[in-house]
């Protein structure tokens, strides 16, 4: 009658596998972290580091080595030459890290002179020229961090309210966070610490207020972002504004999966409240597995099309999304849901039977309120 990618009624024990999953996740994050540390932090694109990009297209066949040699003699600092697209496109990206108050004219002239000197009469054009001053780069970096932080905060509040019906606790968390950040701002902490501080504060507050779903979702999100950033660092890719947009989008996307699973846990819990929590979670993840795999597959397919056919400008964005979709799907299944079991104390795994029913059957006597 119809196709099934995932056989109905799977019974995979995700909860039993959770320690392996946590180990794999930790390993991925650590490897990414090592790469980041060894390369001295993420490789910033000109959006964040400031600098110049010239996208150059030659009419005649040109080898990247020739162009590199031609430009080596110039005094452009931090020069990087990259081939764009296929070799026959003869298109190159020339990047330099020159800073404040440099006119594009000066950089263009340096590059043009060098090309003219090595291959006289070469015909080429600049398809894209970008210059970002260090001041703007710094501002954009701050804004990007701020955006990541606000995304995580709003999500924490939303999930706490929506899944645990604890808008009050969510409100307390928001207030506590706001107070903490204001205090940090008074101490004139640099922005990176501000955002990190806020993040840690969010985690602690979630933990103390026992907002387990929010905590699980946030841990999954941080996991996704860290893993993607780590893989990007291993692949030696640059971070620019579009990558931040991709990171935020994948936060939203991964959360989408997580919420579908949480939603099912909530439903199953309501239906059979007597069941053991690990059983409920296992069943919920299995029930939604086919949907999760299908939609992630379709999303992967469409982003793959963007990666393959969308052109150079959007290439890295698509790559970040591709990685993010895989990591996000994995984390929804193996991190976000199982972590709730780990966060809930063993004694709460089976909730005590509601006493109200028993009291009523005894005939109108109100139970003692303790």
């Amino acid at each position: 009658m119809s196709f099934h990618l995932i056989k109905p009624n799977t019974k995979i024990d995700f909860i039993g596998l959770r320690y392996y999953a946590f180990a794999i996740s930790a390993l991925m994050i650590i490897i990414g972290g090592i790469s980041l540390v060894m390369k001295g932090g993420p490789r910033y694109g000109i959006d964040f580091a400031g600098g110049v990009i010239l996208q150059t297209k030659f009419e005649a066949d040109t080898k990247i080595e020739t162009l590199k040699q031609a430009l080596e003699g110039t005094d452009l600092p931090g020069l990087v030459v990259q081939q764009l697209g296929k070799e026959k496109d003869n298109e190159f990206l020339i990047r330099s890290s020159v800073g404040d108050n440099i006119t594009s004219a000066a950089v263009q002239k340096t590059v043009s002179d060098a090309i003219e000197k090595s291959t006289p009469g070469a015909k080429y054009s600049y398809k894209r020229i970008e210059i970002v001053g260090p001041k703007v780069g710094e501002d954009l970096r701050g804004k990007a961090l701020e955006a990541l932080y606000y995304a995580i905060l709003l999500i924490a509040i939303y999930i706490s309210g929506r899944f645990e019906h604890r808008w009050m606790a969510a409100g307390i968390m928001a207030a506590g966070l706001f107070a903490g950040i204001t205090a940090l701002q008074y101490l004139n902490a640099p922005q990176v610490w501000l955002v990190l501080g806020a993040l840690i504060l969010t985690l602690i507050l979630c933990f103390m207020l026992k907002l387990n779903y929010a905590l699980g979702a946030i841990i999954a999100l941080i996991h996704d972002v860290l893993t993607t950033v780590g893989i990007f660092s291993i692949l030696n890719k640059e971070f620019d504004l579009t990558i931040i947009a991709a990171l935020l989008t994948l936060i939203g996307y991964s959360l989408n999966d997580t919420i579908i699973v949480y939603d099912r846990i909530r439903e199953t819990r309501r239906r059979d409240p007597d069941h053991h929590l690990p059983t409920i979670i296992n069943r919920s993840v299995n029930q939604t597995l086919s949907r999760t795999v299908l939609t992630s597959g379709l999303a992967f397919l469409s982003v793959l099309s963007l990666y393959l056919f969308g052109g150079q400008v959007i290439h890295d964005f698509a790559l970040a999304m591709l990685i993010g979709i895989i990591v996000g799907t994995y984390s929804s299944i193996y991190v976000a849901a199982p972590i709730i079991v780990s966060l809930t104390p063993e004694s709460d795994h089976t909730p005590p039977p509601p006493p109200v029913k028993a009291a009523k059957s005894r005939g109108g006597v109100k139970p003692l309120e303790v």
Binding site: A151, R162, G252, G311, F317
Partner: protein, 534 residues
């Protein structure tokens, strides 16, 4: 159960109709027809990354404007004090900026302070100390309110001047706006030469006329020794082959006239040597000043100084009435034209610097459009084929609403006059995936309910009801994230955020509401226990 079906169908058709009304003006060739005149004006704008153009972020040096203003205050104080017979030595601008003024005669303190309070209320006395020979040294600074007012004024004036210059240069649909941190963002669609744009926008165009002092010998100039009230400036001359050379020239420090009186400026070609120059007209007051200045300085050289560089220094043969002057700097045609524009549009109140500059050539823009369309089509085709194979008839429904979703998203972009950027196209591709996600959720749920033994009709209803909450919940977070992106992102990223939000909202309508109509129609025509293709 299917009672509202007709109304739901009508509502859907109405929505589609409205969408088409908003979408049509964006189609090529519609605008000029009679149909185009009835349709709404707003259409989808293409961002600079697709259309090609220049994006600039300019930093306005407000501090410099404040410093200049302080200097003017100094001159005004001296002049006003002299009128009231209060001797004040020439005031000096200190860093900060603060103003140092030395009063000669300690007995005049009261009179001087009264004058300051009356005529210079935007200044306050920071400190005063009595010096030798009955002198009193005052240090003045601006009140914070006035400083704030001056910053705002400077920025407003800078925006106005830049807009003026761009309008005269002739760029269609430029976008100029103030940003926080004393910045101005300028977007110039269709332009491809950033250096020329910067030359026009970024030139302060501070024009001064100064008298040349030819008495200083070259050796002293080289050593930098010039008399008081004089300064060494660069003189720019252009050789026959167009190469420029710079030589030092000694000028009197005080300008005899500035460019504030210019009413018009044009590029003109000189008949004798086919070189371009810029001729200016002054207003009545300027004409009078110019006549007096030329009369007082006959046989001396008058230097025309633009932004600190001297371009020509002709000898004044006779007094010049009529309020006309000419800058002959042996310019190229473009240079002369651009200079005329900036002189006409007026000087910037403060120097500006280019902090960020992004230029996308028209070929790259077109390539981005082509590859973006290609990626969208392939993604949509892959999903459509998959859904049809995997879910059968239900897959077809999903595909119809998927196409409807794209149409509605584009219509939404047009209705809000939003800008479509390359990341925006990526956003559309992602929404395609998210739109089918809603349908996949519903269908998987229906399959599940069918497996539990529900009748097909009941399974469909239960599937839609149960999945709806999950869809709304999960999409809410996506909308939250997109809103944050919009708040913090720059141009292209904002385009992405806008398409995401629109796409998600539209997908909730299409996937939950519209696809259910089709399902209800499909089921209502069949016996309750007939199998459904899903």
């Amino acid at each position: 159960m299917y009672r509202n079906l007709r109304w739901r169908l009508l509502l859907t058709l109405a929505v589609i109709l409205v969408a088409l009304v908003f979408l049509l003006p964006s189609a090529p060739g519609i605008k000029s027809t009679t149909l185009g005149k009835i349709l709404p004006d707003s259409a989808i704008n293409l961002g600079l990354d697709l259309k090609g153009g220049i994006h600039l972020t300019l930093g306005v040096d407000v501090d410099k404007a404040i410093e200049n203003n302080m200097g003017t205050f100094g001159q005004d104080i001296k002049a006003s004090a002299r009128e009231e017979n209060i001797p004040v030595l020439k005031p000096n601008v200190l860093p900060g900026p603060r103003l140092e003024a030395v009063l000669v005669g300690a007995d005049k303190q009261d009179a001087f302070e009264k004058l300051l309070a009356k005529s210079f209320s935007s200044l306050k006395i920071d400190s005063k100390e009595t010096q030798a020979e009955g002198r009193v040294r005052y240090v003045l600074s601006m009140t914070p309110d006035y400083k704030k007012y001056l910053s705002k004024l400077t920025l407003d004036q800078a925006v106005k001047t830049i807009r003026n210059r761009i309008d005269q240069f002739g760029v269609s649909e430029p976008d100029i706006r103030r940003q926080e941190g004393n910045r101005i963002q300028v977007q110039l669609p269709g332009l491809t030469d950033p250096d020329r744009a910067i030359a026009i926008i970024g030139k302060t165009a501070h024009l001064e006329f100064k008298i040349v002092d030819d008495s200083v010998d070259p050796a002293s100039i080289k050593a930098g020794i010039v008399g008081p009230g004089r300064e060494i400036t660069t003189m720019v001359t252009r050789g026959a082959k167009g190469a420029t050379s710079e030589t030092p020239i000694v000028l009197m420090k005080e300008a005899v006239m500035t460019g504030e009186y210019i009413t018009d400026a044009r590029a003109t070609i000189e008949s004798n040597n086919n070189q371009f120059s810029v001729s200016m007209n002054f207003n009545a007051r300027g004409a009078k000043v110019f006549e007096r200045v030329t009369e007082e300085n006959i046989k001396k050289r008058l230097a025309i100084v633009l932004d600190g560089k001297c371009y020509s220094a002709p000898v004044i043969q006779d007094k010049i009435p009529g309020g006309r002057a000419q800058i002959t700097g042996s310019f190229t045609q473009d240079e002369a034209r651009d200079l005329a524009i900036v002189l006409r549009a007026g000087a910037l109140p403060a120097p500006v610097s280019v902090l960020e500059q992004r230029t996308v050539g028209p070929t790259l823009g077109q390539e981005s459009i082509d590859s973006g369309m290609m990626a969208t089509l392939i993604a949509a085709a892959a999903i459509i084929v998959f859904m049809a194979v995997y879910y059968g008839v239900a897959g077809l429904f999903a595909n119809i609403v998927l196409i409807l979703n794209i149409v509605l998203t584009m219509a939404g972009l047009a209705a809000f006059g939003a800008t479509l950027t390359l990341p925006g196209i990526a956003g559309i591709i992602l929404t395609i995936a998210m739109a089918v996600d809603a349908n996949v959720l519903i269908y998987e749920r229906i399959r599940e309910e069918l497996r539990l033994g529900l009748k097909p009709a009941d399974a469909v209803h239960k599937g839609y009801d149960l999945a709806t909450l999950a869809i709304v919940d999960s999409n809410t977070t996506n909308v939250l994230v997109a809103i944050i992106l919009y708040q913090f992102g720059t141009g292209p990223i904002r385009g992405f955020a806008v398409t995401m939000v629109l796409g998600i909202l539209m997908s909730m309508f299409t996937a939950i509401f519209v696809s259910r109509i089709m399902f209800d129609l499909y089921i209502s025509k069949r016996p309750a226990d007939a199998a459904v293709s899903i």
